[in-house]
Symmetry: D2
Subunit: 425 residues, 4 copies
């Protein structure tokens, strides 16, 4: 289970236990904070098979700790409700059968209150576990569980946004700060080719799919120093981008026609121009903000229209690793938008929108999933998806890494996904 | 609007106004009483496109009074929320566009509390309307609205039963009294052929589809004096009824194969035998109770297996009208099960399960829908459906009539539907 | 097997045998004549699951004689190919499993030549059977087989028309005579109400579904003395008939939207106006010809738009039986169009287009299918379909009867189906 | 159009013209030879949307020469039939609209004879073009057209096999020689890691997707020296490989369940064991032959079960390029199976079955499609597909190259696709 190890030599002092507990509680509290302002009804609905109810996310993340930490490791642990093993398993075949995904929205009982009680029950037991166990053994799994929970924090926001969008009243979730846009023309930042390394280097937590660190050969390339904006994307629409098959992958153009796509998800053309539905309600697009909620196909077509291409994930990671703009976030571990005009380097590399890459989501050379049920985490999804990099405004700030590999099917649009242009040098 | 008229010569005395208001309030209260014990989450979900959320039923029945009574007839009426016109229209094209039916379960806002407040707002305005209007003019529409509401009372129970069934935990709605079964063998009650009349005769309220009263020629026939029981239906299953195409209509056997039907909806085979999911939870079937939750195809195949057939709706209505067993209900207008052993005549003719007939749901000779949007009530559904007669245990007792024509597509099974055998004399 | 009996007292003289053989050969030759001008490729294709390849029709009609006449009744008969029992069974469950209907178009072997050889093999054996058997016993089944074959003659033309229409080149089948249209305004012919009889009266062949003859009560009604024309239907289109939901059954309007219907099948709007694809190729519509290739929904909506309704099948049959215009066909038993201007009575009652009625296809009182596999002929399709009456230009002239009940699902449009208006008197 | 260039300095001598014409005629004749033994009906059918009729392949390959060579380059060329431009365009958006792919099987006219005449017409015009044109300019396009035609030669065999399989009679196409199997255990051949080059090197023809030649970094790896056999795959089945989700990608296991896969396509379990449908009919599997007609998912699951993995396309190409076994084919340019027991190195690297790789079908670094409509050849399909390498017994022998990239969606099974195991060194 080497991939999950953080620092196995960490001393099991009271300080270490306290620190782990605080970290645990902090992440768990952040999840609950997302539910503030949501009613039990809001937390109930599932707007499409790809999405899940908020309540399900709350329960499933507790289920993870119950199943992989408490049940095997806390002597005398009594499950909150044995039926939850079945109800709140997402896709772990090794754990047993599970409730069909498209029916998650039909589970009105347990209620939201009961699910919150379930979380409290798990939290209490986790505190007991942390007080009395061999921390070195459990730390990697706890860290995995917390990172898993952070992924669901983002999914909660993606899914509730989509659910609210399906309501003709388009209710507002809450006022959200918006990252400032950019008004300057993009600059091309060049990178040398050569033999580079990408992938997680072993320091700190990473998912199994981020390693092993390995060599890649890159040809010289350049990246735009900022994201494509909503205003630029609107030009693509005006230029009949959605009507010109030569700009699209064949599957992409079929998707355009099947779904009658003519703009990003959440955009709507009204009298005064394009508006966009956000977690804070519908408002006019801001031409300087990054375009968001694109499918891979749209990102790819836009890049072709612009005479450019999408970066590969190796190019993106190498550029991010050698560019000064990303470091700030690592230092303080909290979210804040990238400076609108950094002194140098690439901008908007994290915390804005996920950036589609030209890379299929495949195992790195030498990849091996961890043994056991938690090994079903990443590897088995390595087909039919494309990699996104960088993190979005809805991603917990300390959850993003340079080596982080997000992935979605090329048709998916409900993630906070945009693009940055690349080209051969 | 002659079809809706009850007694236009009714005096508009204070007594008449009070009586109408009491009737209104009684029906409206009965709807709310069904929601007791349901959480906001329970009231939110829609388990399939055919079903609707409880909350939607609550709102739509208020919408009916707002749209057809208050908006056109109460001076100065202010709608509770103008958006509700769109949200809670079911299928009235003439009223304007409406929210897509399969997405009713996604409307988390308005909340259940707001919908209950909407009902109170409408009730208050209706009281004002009843105090100051020409009752003779409005009475027919009010009566229609109350009968409409009673239909939705039954739908609430049908739909919540299905929703709870879709939850793997199969929660209980509430303890429901169960009509006693029958243990005696069925007797055949014979009826003479000849020229008879069926259809509503104009006294009291009826839906437009129940008239005009008209002549029909019947050949001599006989009806079983009781419903087919669960125990009898279990014999059909044991006799491989679901595996023998010669017993089925072609479409019916296709439905058996497409849906992998091997028993009525809600039945499950467990170690100790068949169990059935009910509003009071799952329990073993009672062999003496009427079999319920059959599609038309299953009812038809069972009848063929039993060497009999389904009655036509004309046969059923003529038999009901000339049999002593039904009258009791007309006299006191309230629900109580048929006596387990009546002195004579047909038993279980109402208030047990709806009885599939052999008749397609078509207009009676001379049928004309009422003019205007309320005319979309029945006529436009006259294709692709079969008629059921008699009323079920979930039907409000004063809502059933001898001339009442219920209808569902032949594949539908979530209504409380069973059968009675018929044969040529 | 009483329903199939024609005249069991027929003397089995050599003349009778010769007459039966000639009748057999005449019908069989007529089938082959339809294939003239079709290539093996034309005869191969199946344009939709509802349709069948011409080759399949040729083989299936031979299969009928082989299965129901030769195998059980001709001593020493050797099947042409045992595999054909499986390949060319249409839907007779009692005969055994069968090839899936939507895959009929994939059976390239046997070839068309082999299927024609199969027919010759069956014809030769039938001649032997007719020479040496008890004609009284077999005559009903032979007659059934020949009527079955005539039904497939019409299906061949329906199906090849649809197949050619699916070819962008829209090839021509052959020059077909066209029935003259009518230019005079329709007159309403009134009929008295009362107790009438409909259904086959037992003289001559009829399908089981045409009986028993039985009493029906009719209210006074009137029928238009001619069919609705293409020109009249074009006015309905101009009047936005396809865009007005109040004219449609609910299922019908859903079909309009699902299939984007805006005109009858085979119509296309071109610069010069509406054109229609026919077996003789595409040509402008003739405003005086009967409108054809309507679904039931369209016929029903047109009638509502015209302030009228569709006739019931009982009304149609009673009118046809008491009107002078139909008799001519019975006397000479051969096809010719109705006179453009008969002296009196109803026109275009047969041999023009099938007329949708307002009646669902259900069993007549006392109906019982014949015993055995041939009993699967009609009864098991008695759900979800509507009755059409009268016969079309592609129906063999001696195949139509006043009591004949054709039936199709309400969405079907590839039959030669139009309408005649009716109204209450 | 650099990618298509072969040798632009080729002298335009009469010899060169003759040589090109002979090459052209040889490939075109090979296509027609595949049709021998097929009836017009066989050539008509399309068994699934992914497949095409033989007749369509014959016409489309002629259409290619007509559209890209004759129409633009042969003065005075008269198209055989202008409608063919629409009918036989496969997917070239730039050429204009085209007939919908799933309806190719409905085009009975033009007939097979007419399509063969179309080919002759094109061949004659091509001979004229070759006699009088600037060969240097046209040679690349002609070569592309011939390689295109060879691809369709393989598709004809894939598609007719599937069509015959859909016929319950499972007819035989023709007796086909079968490559000898292998009975020895597989050996692992090791390859050094390091910086290698793959991709077409510019000598001789290659498709645009095979270049540019570029550097890749490989870790040390090993390949099995032979393909996985049918006997080995049968052990996977016996070991419940299709019932164990932990062996499968998530999408793969969903495909297993959706399609009820339990063996390779064309396999059937009969009393005596597994049989397989081939172009020569159904026969028992030979345990020593390569397993064939696997989806990518099955190949991937098998490899996981075997404790190995699939090779990447870079590993495969590097191994093929440095292994002695492949060269023989390049020298004589004609098909013959790999020697059953080569002196050394890898066996069965071409001409047996296509080998699924672990690589998604994506553009190589620096890839750019050729300009114009022929540029739609490969690039626009670069999503959702996996690469296969090596060529199959149905691939023209001189069509396979070490750099050749075949590709299919991961669910596809009707290609002649199997696998070779790889592992990290």
């Amino acid at each position: 289970m080497a991939r999950l190890s953080t620092e196995s030599s960490m001393p099991h002092s009271a300080d270490a236990r306290r620190s782990t507990l605080e970290r645990y509680q902090s992440v768990r509290r952040a999840t609950l904070a997302l539910v503030e302002g949501l009613s039990a009804e809001d937390a109930q609905v599932q707007s499409m098979p790809d999405a899940s109810p908020t309540k399900w996310h709350l329960a499933h993340t507790a289920w993870f700790f119950e199943t992989f930490l408490l049940a095997p490791h806390l002597t005398g642990y009594r499950p909150f409700d044995p039926a939850f093993t079945y109800l709140f398993n997402s896709y772990y075949e090794a754990v047993g059968p599970r409730h069909a995904r498209p029916n998650r929205g039909l589970v009105t009982r347990p209620s939201l209150d009961q699910v919150i009680a379930y979380r409290a029950h798990v939290d209490e037991a986790m505190a007991a576990l942390l007080a009395g166990s061999d921390l070195a053994e459990l730390e990697p799994l706890i860290t995995l569980g917390l990172n898993h929970e952070q992924q669901h924090q983002e999914l909660i926001l993606m899914d509730i946004k989509h659910a609210f969008f399906c309501n003709p009243l388009e209710p507002t979730y809450r006022a959200c700060a918006r990252a400032p846009g950019v008004v300057t023309a993009p600059n091309w930042t060049a990178f040398d080719g050569g033999l580079h390394e990408i992938g997680h280097d072993g320091a700190g937590f990473a998912f199994d799919n981020e390693g092993p660190r390995h060599k890649v050969w890159l040809e010289p390339f350049a990246l735009a120093d900022r994201l494509v904006t909503a205003g630029e994307y609107a030009e693509f629409i005006v230029d009949r981008g959605y009507q010109r098959p030569e700009l699209w992958l064949s599957d992409g153009y079929a998707a355009v026609q099947n779904h009658s796509w003519d703009a990003p998800l959440y955009w709507r053309h009204e009298e005064g121009g394009w508006t966009v539905f956000t977690l804070s309600g519908r408002r006019p697009i801001d031409p300087t903000e990054p375009v968001c909620h694109l499918s891979f196909y749209e990102a790819d077509a836009y890049a072709r229209w612009a005479g450019a291409r999408l970066p590969t994930e190796a190019e993106w990671e190498h550029a991010a690793a050698t560019s000064g703009s990303v470091g700030a976030f690592v230092e303080d571990g909290r979210y804040h938008p990238a400076p609108a005009t950094p002194r140098s380097g690439l901008r908007q590399m994290r915390g804005d929108v996920w950036e589609w890459t030209a890379s299929a989501y495949l195992p790195y050379p030498g990849f091996r999933p961890v043994v056991g049920a938690v090994g079903e985490y990443n590897g088995k999804f390595m087909s039919g998806q494309m990699v996104l990099r960088g993190g979005a405004c809805v991603t917990p700030a300390d959850h993003v890494r340079i080596s982080y590999r997000n992935f979605f099917p090329p048709e998916a649009r409900w993630a906070f996904s945009g693009l940055r242009l690349a080209r051969d040098a």
